[in-house]
Symmetry: C2
Subunit: 251 residues, 2 copies
């Protein structure tokens, strides 16, 4: 399995439009530090699977015909906006696995175009797609949200975004099914009180301790968290990394 | 006044994702022939006014602080999608003039960010904005839609997109208030029957005859209309032109 981040930013992405903080100025000056909205591509068993679709110009990253399926965590705009410009395309229909949220986003369900939204991810009901197994796990967010654990040839990738803390049953599932690479949203530097819809760094590291994946990668990074990492470059324990756009992880 | 098109494509834009027609292949090979979604910038009286916001990467075309106002014709995604990625920005609030559509698009009204959506355009109720006058004119479309006639120093630009035909009162208003440049949506080559939500070329030229603007510019061009123009390069009468992305018109 190879997972490539296309977007690792929080809902504001980076640079934040008009922001003059050092992190946003750095992202303006050097594209390597830009963070697009939540999006990634998983290559596994000869398949290409898009996980979340926040990248605005998907046609540049995913040529027509390249995508075999899409996994959506939820229907917030910063996780689906890349679908709108390409939905009116031609060619094979792309199956989309998404939470059973009747509203979707804007008129995506009314005009699905090349997408098939009929595949509803149910908590802990495994999806067998071609030769891979995908387990949807319910997350805690302001919209109905599902994380995904993808297993292939004894390796497991967990993509958990967006979530405030983890449900007990999800935590137990991840302990019982050891995770090689866990991608987890971490929106903020350590906060006194746990935020409701995302992890701050304190809670993300608590999850790392509890679940003990081989590798934890933090994504959905806000500009203030990036600034925190800039000020505390050695703050992360071994086995925990910060995600960057266009970065790939193999497992 | 100077009007620059940022996007002149139909809802499918060009190239259509996965389309192998000659027009889409040309647009793939040469960026000059690409058509983004409906969007333009009007420079007038020292102001910059965005008209529709379908361009996906507005931060590249409209640096922070550059926009004084936004006029939206309606809340279809291909006319507003550029607003989502920049709404969480910082800096001055940007007034948006839009039809009084209670739904807006997705959660734009719930989370307006840097935009102020409180300015509702009412049919034939002139908006006095700084030193310019903007007249909203109701269009005929599948969503509540408003065209805009912008007057400054004796010149008038009419931006009418999207519309199937024109209402009689709008046609009369445009006759009574001579138009220098009229931007009109024209989605399709000549069709036997008038389409419901857009003009085909036959109906667009009928409007040209009836209203007699000095210059008619056709926008919201589909790939099949582009193919038609490729096959009939001399089909347009004098005073009628096809819009292209990044093209500017002064008046």
């Amino acid at each position: 399995m190879k997972f490539t981040f296309l977007g690792t930013g929080s809902v504001k992405a980076a640079p934040v439009y008009g922001c003059e903080c050092s992190v946003c100025q750095r992202a303006m000056a050097n594209a390597d530090f830009r963070r697009h909205s939540a999006c990634g591509v998983l290559e596994v068993a000869g398949l290409q699977i898009l996980i979340d679709a926040g990248y605005q110009n998907l046609e540049q990253k995913c040529p027509p015909g390249s995508l075999d399926a899409i996994l959506l965590t939820h229907f917030h705009m910063d996780h689906v906006q890349g679908l709108f410009p390409i939905r009116w395309g031609t060619g094979k229909t792309i199956p989309v696995f998404s939470p059973d949220d009747p509203n979707g986003c804007d008129d995506l369900f009314k005009y699905p175009g090349i997408f098939d939204f009929s595949n509803k991810s149910q908590p802990f009901e495994a999806i067998e797609f071609k030769t891979i197994s995908i387990m949807p796990v319910p997350l805690v967010h302001s919209k109905l949200t599902m994380g995904y654990v993808i297993a292939f040839k004894g390796k497991r990738l967990a993509y958990l975004c967006d979530s405030g803390l983890l449900r007990r049953d999800v935590e137990q599932f991840l302990i019982d099914h050891p995770i090689d690479v866990m991608v987890l949203d971490c929106d903020q530097p350590p906060l006194e009180k746990a935020p409701r819809n995302h992890n701050d760094l304190t809670r993300a590291l608590d999850i790392f301790e509890a679940v003990q994946p081989k590798q934890l990668i933090l994504t959905h990074i806000s500009h203030n968290l990036d600034e925190y990492f800039f000020n505390y470059p050695d703050i992360l324990p071994e086995g925990v990394a910060i995600a960057y756009d266009n970065q790939s992880w193999e497992l």
